[in-house]
């Protein structure tokens, strides 16, 4: 059979293929197919756990490389080096060879070691730098303390060997004395100097005081600048302390206490010259350390900078490689023949392309063993593959949100492209708001490329639906013109059909009724502006919009119901036509089709000329059911109305048994006939050759090769074939049909009523914009003078932004949701089955698009 062209009308034809690929080029083949993105591979090793699969080793290795790359990324974030993001639209990465991947993994291994070594040394150096800084502070603070203390040391009693000596010697007496440079050591006083966390200083002091019973002199000062803790890069405030005490043991005790309190003790020389030397030494060491530190950091940054140039590309390559091996793990490996066997769903029309790709890969590898691709017959349901383009993508997505269409049934997204925006527009009909929306949609489409990069979620969602917004806005422009509404005002595009005549006794504020012109002229396009703002505007527009809702709903549902005929024809199920479509259609048309005809007929009759009072259609419909054969109050629409209505009613009710019984009994008859002839269901006995009944239960070991069937040349390797196993069960079919019948008949009523939302929402939209105008602009327009000028500016902004926020965004969203419901429920329930499963081919493009991890690497 000649393959049909794939259209968006229904799912593309799918075939199940088997691939025989030599083990050596398995990876290359899968890479090429991944670039192509047309094959959905089946898992042939379902009973093998993830750890036992053939390529687990490779995946582990790649996981490791990925971890290393992520480590680089975290290091780069730490040092603030920007990542060069990969723009997939600009650079296409060539698929790498195995050696390239090996090189990459080796290289990242080396780089990781290098970077972690650099990091380690950086941290030690940082620690040393911190220590030296602290020491310097101790030296500085303690030094200044000593300097202050030396001024008064002479006043302290020099020693206690001379009891006569005065406690305080005369200042003059000691001036110029040779022992002026006496030190604390001379007095047998020692000291401990160090640095401690500022928070702990209180408790430190207390503990010292208590343990030494006050035998100490403590001096402390705050370090003005916070120090950096190298362990966690946090800054802490510290204090320098100097503690003087008497006796070696006490000093040792102080040291111990300080250490246990987390203080760092540094040696400080009390001699000022030595101390000066010490400071010099510390300074020079600090400088050295800082130099080395700077160098290390520069090296690290240079290294990371270099990595940042290609990190994104590496990440993408590794993810692709991993995906390839994950796919290869789904393949069955025949050890004896050293071939990989894969099964995949592919679009039938793309088979030649896949075949030639496979051929290319084999040729490039220079293998003598050809790769074989075989189409196999299967009774499994193929996945639904609905091709989309930039325009249809959004529409298809809102349909897929409801469900995946059954394979080969009419794509429900086809009519949705028009009906969804159109019904939206019926509710959103305002020329002005539509123009705002249209400009937004056009802007999004015009600046498509730059806006694509925006990652703000809400905007990305609106941007994704830009073409939907475009069509919605276009239809809204049209309906706005029809409703003759622009920001709640009317346009006078054509002369009105109504004339306001001045009566003889006219006075201001008199209630006037317009008169219709007498030469049969009617407002040619949309609503006559004479209605706008009149006292009985709502009376007229409600009747008009309500009837319009019913007519549009009837059209929408009839149109949708027709698709069920197309589906039944396509699936060659005539019983669905005669048992479902025809009786359903007759039922629907004889009630609601009749109502629509009555509406149109009533409009077309000039009741004034006919001299009859126009009948109320609602009453007519109610009486048609309650008292068939009579008319309410003798309100007659046309001659012979009673008879027609009785016939239609009988016709409608006659369809109920047809709907109920025809299909189940026909199916039973068909099944019985087939059984009488000796046919049996496929699922009952037969099994595809490779898997015979007896080894159904034994678990198949990895690498168990398929048997080859000579007559068909094919065998399904995979299991679970028996899902299509279907036995005829009359009661089930009957119950199903009863539910369908009840649902259909009730839905005809409730769905028609549901379309009245078109009227309700368009009324709400129009009234809301009237209210907004009267509360902002109208207030400003009646004022004059300076106040008027100011008010008009303020009110205009209020009106404009509220218009956009409430009437365009909020009302637009609400109208969209209602229209969505009309598509999902009212329309789809008439024809779509939604029993399919989506085609998700193995494709690098979708993988990269959908991956959350790679988002930060892709620009």
């Amino acid at each position: 059979m000649a393959p049909r062209q794939d259209t968006p009308f229904r799912s593309a034809d799918m075939s199940m293929v088997q691939l025989y690929v030599s083990n050596e080029i398995g990876r290359e083949v899968v890479t090429a197919l991944g670039e192509l993105g047309l094959c959905q591979f089946r898992d042939l090793n379902e009973d093998v756990s993830a750890f036992q699969r053939t390529y687990t080793q490779e995946i582990r290795r790649l996981d490791n490389v990925e971890r290393q790359l992520r480590y680089f990324y975290s290091q780069m974030e730490k040092t603030g080096i920007p990542l060069r993001k990969l723009d997939l639209d600009v650079d296409r990465l060539a698929s790498p060879s195995t050696t390239e991947i090996d090189e990459l993994s080796e290289r990242s291994e080396k780089l990781e070691q290098r970077i972690s070594a650099l990091n380690d040394s950086y941290e030690t150096l940082k620690k040393r730098e911190g220590d030296l800084t602290e020491w310097r502070w101790v030296l500085r603070e303690a030094g200044s303390f000593f300097d202050r203390a030396h001024g008064s040391v002479e006043e302290i009693r020099a020693s206690n060997d001379n009891d006569d000596a005065p406690l305080l010697s005369d200042v003059e007496q000691n001036q110029g004395a040779p022992d002026a440079e006496r030190s604390f050591s001379g007095m047998n006083i020692g000291f401990v100097a160090g640095v401690i966390n500022r928070d702990r200083i209180g408790s430190f002091e207390r503990i010292l005081w208590r343990t030494l019973r006050g035998n100490l002199y403590m001096n402390q000062s705050e370090i003005p600048e916070p120090l950096v803790d190298p362990a966690n890069n946090e800054s802490i405030n510290k204090n320098v302390f100097v503690i003087f005490a008497h006796g070696k043991e006490i000093l040792a005790k102080i040291r111990k206490i300080s250490e246990s309190m987390g203080a760092d003790v540094y040696s400080v020389d009390e001699n000022s010259d030595l101390r000066r030397d010490q400071i010099h030494e510390v300074n020079s060491r600090l400088e050295d350390v800082q130099n080395v530190l700077r160098n290390t950091q520069a090296t690290l940054q240079a290294e990371l900078n270099q990595i940042s140039q290609s990190l994104s590309a590496w990440m993408v390559l590794i993810s692709k490689e991993k995906a390839v091996y994950n796919t290869l793990n789904n393949f069955s490996y025949d050890r004896a023949r050293r071939t990989l066997i894969a099964e995949a769903w592919v679009p039938s029309n793309d088979l030649p392309l896949i075949r030639s790709t496979l051929q290319d890969v084999t040729n490039r590898a220079g293998l003598s063993v050809p790769s074989i691709i075989n189409e196999i017959k299967t009774n499994k349901t193929p996945p639904t593959y609905l091709k989309t383009n930039k325009f249809t993508e959004g529409f298809q997505t809102i349909v897929n949100a409801y469900g995946t269409a059954t394979y080969q049934e009419v794509n429900p997204a086809m009519p949705v492209i028009v009906t969804f925006p159109f019904l939206f527009a019926v509710m959103f009909g305002d020329f002005g708001h539509a123009i705002i929306m249209l400009s937004a949609a056009i802007a999004m489409i015009y600046w498509e490329k730059p806006l694509k990069k925006v990652t703000f979620e809400l905007f990305a969602m609106i941007f994704y639906g830009r073409y939907i917004a475009l069509v919605m806005a276009l239809f809204s422009v049209f309906t706005g013109l029809i409703y003759n509404d622009v920001f709640s005002k009317s346009m006078t595009l054509f002369p009105s059909a109504w004339e306001w005549k001045k009566p003889d006794n006219w006075k201001e504020g008199m209630s006037l009724t317009a008169e219709l012109n007498d030469h049969g002229y009617r407002y040619p396009f949309g609503m006559d502006f004479a209605w706008h703002g009149s006292d009985n505007d709502l009376l007229f527009s409600n009747s008009y919009k309500m009837k319009m809702s019913i007519i549009l709903g009837w059209c929408h549902m009839t149109y949708s119901l027709c698709f069920s005929y197309i589906n039944a024809r396509h699936f060659k199920k005539p019983i669905d036509i005669w048992g479902n479509f025809v009786p359903g259609m007759i039922f629907f048309q004889s009630i609601f089709g009749y109502l629509v005809i009555c509406i149109l007929y009533k409009w077309s009759v000039n009741w004034e000329e006919a001299g009859a009072s126009p009948p109320g259609l609602l009453n007519m419909l109610i009486y048609m059911f309650l008292q068939p054969g009579t008319l309410p109050n003798g309100e007659r629409l046309y001659k012979g109305q009673e008879v027609v209505q009785v016939i239609l009613l009988l016709l409608a009710f006659a369809q109920v048994p047809v709907l109920l019984f025809l299909k189940p009994f026909y199916l039973r008859w068909e099944n019985n006939r087939a059984r009488a002839k000796g046919y049996r269901g496929i699922g009952e006995v037969s099994r595809v050759s490779a898997l015979d009944g007896e080894d159904e239960d034994d678990s198949r070991p990895n690498g168990h090769g398929p048997s080859f069937d000579d007559d068909e040349g094919v065998a399904m390797i995979s299991q679970n074939i028996d899902e299509d196993h279907e036995e005829f069960e009359f009661s089930e079919v009957m119950i199903h049909q009863v539910i369908h019948t009840i649902e259909f008949c009730l839905n005809c009523v409730s769905h028609t009523a549901s379309y009245l939302r078109l009227w309700a929402l368009s009324l709400a939209h129009q009234q809301l914009s009237v209210v907004l105008w009267s509360m902002t602009m109208e207030l400003a327009l009646v004022k004059t003078g300076v106040l008027g000028v100011i008010m008009i500016v303020v009110c205009f902004y209020a009106w404009f932004f509220l218009s956009i926020a409430i009437l365009v965004c909020m009302e637009g969203t609400s109208a969209m949701l209602h229209s969505l419901r009309l598509a999902w429920v009212e329309s789809f329930s008439k024809f779509a089955e939604f029993a399919g499963w989506p085609f998700q081919p193995f494709s690098f493009d979708t993988m990269l698009e959908e991956s959350e991890e790679l988002k930060e690497y892709l620009g």
């Binding site: 259209t7 306001w500 006219w506 008199m510 009724t513 407002y523 949309g526 009985n536 008009y544 149109l600």
Partner: protein
């Protein structure tokens, strides 16, 4: 200008448009999409116009208002 028979003129116009969109739709994979969408859009728009026009063809009520200025009246 716009009399009762205008609906037939409108019908003729949209039939012509539908025929045109059937034959002028770009060939290829998406031809069915073009045809279906264009025709559906044309018919929907006509339907809406038709309903609005018919609703005003033989109006049962006339607009009434009491806030008109003298200059506006004929």
């Amino acid at each position: 200008m716009a009399q009762g028979y205008s609906i037939w003129i409108g019908l003729a116009v949209i039939v012509a448009l539908c025929v045109a969109s059937w034959f002028l739709s770009p060939k290829g994979e998406n031809q069915v999409l073009w045809r279906s969408s264009l025709m559906l859009a044309i018919i929907s728009c006509y339907l809406m116009w038709l309903i609005t026009f018919l609703a005003q063809l033989h109006p049962l009520i006339a607009p009434r208002r009491s806030d008109l200025r003298e200059a506006y009246l004929e």
